[in-house]
Amino acid sequence: MRLSELEAVVESLLFIAGDAVPLTSIAQTIELDKATAKAVVLALADKYEKEKRGLRIVEIGGAYQMCTAAECFEYIRNMYKSPQRQGLTQSLLETLAIVAYKQPITRAQIEEIRGVSSDHAVAKLVEKRLICEVGRGDTPGRPILFGTSNEFLRYFGFKSIGELPPLEEEQEEENGDELTV
């Protein structure tokens, strides 16, 4: 197949999926290796941006998803009269940030950093599927370890956890022998 045909196939796959499609699925479906498949996806994504189309392709943790361009936001909202998305409260944002940077992390460790009980915040974030259980700790009671989900990446538009903004003063504080990590 020529590149343009491959692009068309990938376009149809991403359109129909309505979810992030793992690169491996795409590669398998178009019967090419992952690197080539990725090149096709990126070529298509690039075309969308260059041509200022109404669609975009975003990467979410090794998977790709089709979405609308931000420029079209007002029109879509007008058509659907969808209410403004309620942002996360400060306490949820704090808790989520702690999980994002310190994962995997237990509830107790979160509370230590925040200085307040975080049961409610953790439960709420799990309910919103922004964080999820990623395992159990080795300490007594084998506490649940939390980590961020792909939904978290999508919600904030991060490609991967590696894209998180660096925490400030990280270097500066290397003299302090031990940070509560």
């Binding site: 309505g18 996360l88 704090e94 400030e168």
Partner: protein, 255 residues
Amino acid sequence: MDTINIRLDAFEGPLDLLYHLIEKNEIDIYDIPIASLTEQYLAFLDAAEDRDMDGMSEFLLMAATLLEIKSKMLLPAPKNEEEEGPDPREELVQRLLEYKKIKDVTDTFKEREEEAALVFYKEADASVAKLKEQPPQELEDLLQGITMDDLYQAFQQVMARKETKEDKVRSSFRSVQKDLFTVGEKMEYIRDLLILRPYGKTAFHTIFRKNAGKMEKVVTFLALLELIKQKEVQITQERNFGEILISKYSEGGTE
């Protein structure tokens, strides 16, 4: 002190409140005047009207910590200045710094949250779920055109192998030239196609795969005839030489 009209629940917790006080008074976090900070903190708690005990306990715990640090600071300094013990404020400072880092980054998160909200994602197409449904494999698919004669050949070969104690691996079975396409399989292909096409309609030519050979085309056509016969699909043509459309059968839908 103007803390009176600030409500306790405006803060995420004692660290948040402490941080607020430090910022407001432009205190150097590495050299906290613990006595005055403690005083302000306690005054704030006093003034806070909304004392529900649940939320209060953590603020009170911090008050105790502050008082403890303050009292440690009041102890006479050790004689030998060089062997200075750890600063009693050290742990609190570290916690505050750690908390600040998180609090600072939440602003970025907030911005990204708003930005990302401008983008919409589509629900998965209903046809996807239907495609995923795997109908039980029909006997016809399983046997894929195997005839009694194939069965016979297979038997002969097994018996021959047994007698000659032939290595099983080497006696690769070549007698059955498998039909790659069966009518049953192609019927399902057409059914799936109708699931995917909007309004369950598709043009005649679309039922043939792009690189289909002659045999495959014949089998596909037979499958279409079978579906028509079984009243699963119907075909329509709006005018002579116009496009032939295949759609799901509906009672009285067409001639």
